[in-house]
């Protein structure tokens, strides 16, 4: 099993890294709302431009951002191709591939969906690459997200590498007992998987039991307000960004209500 990455933080000092984590978390929701408001890629491109701007403001290399989200890009591209194939009889034909028409409607509809699929992912990646996990948790708490939820996210991100190492140890132990996980028919291979899932879960129970004792001995109470080393305080630039996001979102919703930003036929073709 390839190791699971639990932090995307790059550690660069940049304009974006200094922004209040609450604003950055709200930015992810803003991107989601903005990309869902419009179906026309021309209007959606504004949100995509904001992502480009954010990655520049975060001092991030575009190659690294794209690499981190390559699976999402693959999903988006697949969806684009599927839409183009399924809408080959709607809209103005642009060109033909293997006797199938590629229409403007298919291309634009596919692009619109692909942008929807990838935009939220890239918003998350840009925020995660410019914000340490600790600040994300503080930000969640600052946004009045349940204390338990914020705490749990922190514990999960620490447990994943620990469980991963336990998983590797168990796999090695089973292999040394001559268990061959990739040999045999499908049912045999299925059955073999319980040989690591059960020990791993039992180890997890022990780890979590110790963890709960440690937390209890430090008088952890999920209902008591927490204190943080770094207190969150919004700067003027944070407030400007927050207000701008709100204004753009309201404006976009109004545009959509008045009929703008809806995907129309003939945008790429000779006009219909």
């Amino acid at each position: 099993m390839s190791s699971i990455r639990t932090s995307f933080y790059e550690g660069n000092e940049s304009f974006l890294s200094r922004i209040d984590p609450r604003i950055k978390l709200l930015y992810i929701l803003w991107v989601f709302a903005m990309i869902m408001v419009f179906t026309d890629p021309v209007f959606q491109s504004f949100t995509m431009a904001s992502l480009l701007l954010a990655s520049i403001a975060g001092g991030l290399s575009l190659g690294k951002v794209v690499n981190a989200g390559k699976l999402g890009i693959y999903v988006g591209l697949t969806s684009w191709v599927i839409w183009t194939i399924f809408l080959r009889n709607e809209g103005v034909p642009l060109f033909h591939v293997f006797g199938w028409s590629v229409t403007d409607y298919g291309v634009l509809k596919g692009l619109s969906v692909a942008l929807r699929i990838t935009s939220v992912l890239f918003a998350f990646l840009i925020v995660a690459m410019t914000t340490p996990t600790r600040d994300i948790i503080t930000g969640l708490y600052g946004l009045r997200v349940s204390m338990v939820f914020s705490m749990v996210i922190g514990i999960i991100l620490r447990l994943i590498p620990q469980f991963q190492s336990e998983h590797s140890t168990i796999m090695e132990a089973q292999r040394s007992r001559a268990t061959e996980f990739d040999k045999g028919g499908l049912i045999t291979r299925f059955r073999k998987h319980t040989a690591y899932i059960i020990p791993l879960t039992l180890r997890a129970l022990k780890i979590v039991s110790d963890l709960s004792i440690a937390m209890e001995s430090r008088a952890y109470d999920p209902y008591t307000p927490r204190t943080f080393v770094r207190e969150l305080k919004m700067k003027r630039s944070d407030k400007v960004i927050l207000i701008s996001m709100a204004v753009f979102l309201v404006f976009s919703i109004l545009l959509r209500i008045f009929g703008f930003g809806v995907l129309q036929l003939g945008l790429l073709g000779s006009g219909q």
């Binding site: 099993m1 390839s2 699971i4 990455r5 989601f32 990309i35 869902m36 179906t39 981190a68 989200g69 699976l71 999402g72 999903v75 969806s79 599927i82 839409w83 399924f86 969906v113 929807r116 699929i117 939220v120 992912l121 998350f124 990646l125 995660a128 338990v148 939820f149 705490m151 749990v152 996210i153 514990i155 999960i156 991100l157 447990l159 994943i160 469980f163 998983h167 499908l186 049912i187 291979r189 299925f190 059955r191 998987h193 319980t194 899932i197 059960i198 791993l200 879960t201 039992l202 997890a204 129970l205 979590v208 039991s209 963890l211 709960s212 937390m215 209890e216 952890y220 999920p222 209902y223």
Partner: protein
Amino acid sequence: MQAFLTSLLGFFSKLASLVTFNGMFVLGIILSIPMSIIFIGEIFNYQFVLHAPFFVKVERRWNVKAVAVVAMTAALSVILQAVGAVIVLVPGTITFRADALIRFPFGAIFGMPAVWGVMISNIIGDALAGTLGPGSIAGFIISWWMAYLFYRFYKSSEEYSMLKANAWGKYYLTTILWCFLGAFYLCTNFQLLNLLPTEVVWTAVFPAVIVTTFIGGLLGPIVARVIGPAAKRYGLSRDEMQYEKG
């Protein structure tokens, strides 16, 4: 085995075509509305019951053990998701979902904290794998339902430890029930969000969700048989945790 799985996929795909895609969508909407209402009710500790007033307040209190169990369920689920993805059963369609092996029984063994853990694992799994998107919302709600059905249908420790013969039968029936509910919910949302063409949603995604998850959960009772009593010994099972009153 591969031929059997492919024919199973074909069967569900034909079933969807027979009902018509519009019919499937309407069915999906009819199922999705109460599923979403029950989910929202549980966020505010209101539980659905079959008699009037249909939603009753449940007294719950987070404690250290409950918090730890949420984190454990989510972390294990994320890891098993990554492990399972490498075992391809039918190329391009079905991969082995090892996480289903714990997602289903954990709801019965650990109760609501595991239900929330399974839901969180879906969000974190998508975020870490780089597949977070609009479809993730439906994904985390159906993941929540995965463990929730077991939480509601299993009560005593003999049942969730699979000591009774009928607990095994109940396990597979509940798994099948989820496979349909989950597939309908996910596909209806995909169609609503226009993520894929309707034909692809109902003839490819719908059968794949049903078959993948059922196969993944097949050995769940064996896991529950070992983990159920162990959880009780560690004081982490739903009865020992004291997360819920009454």
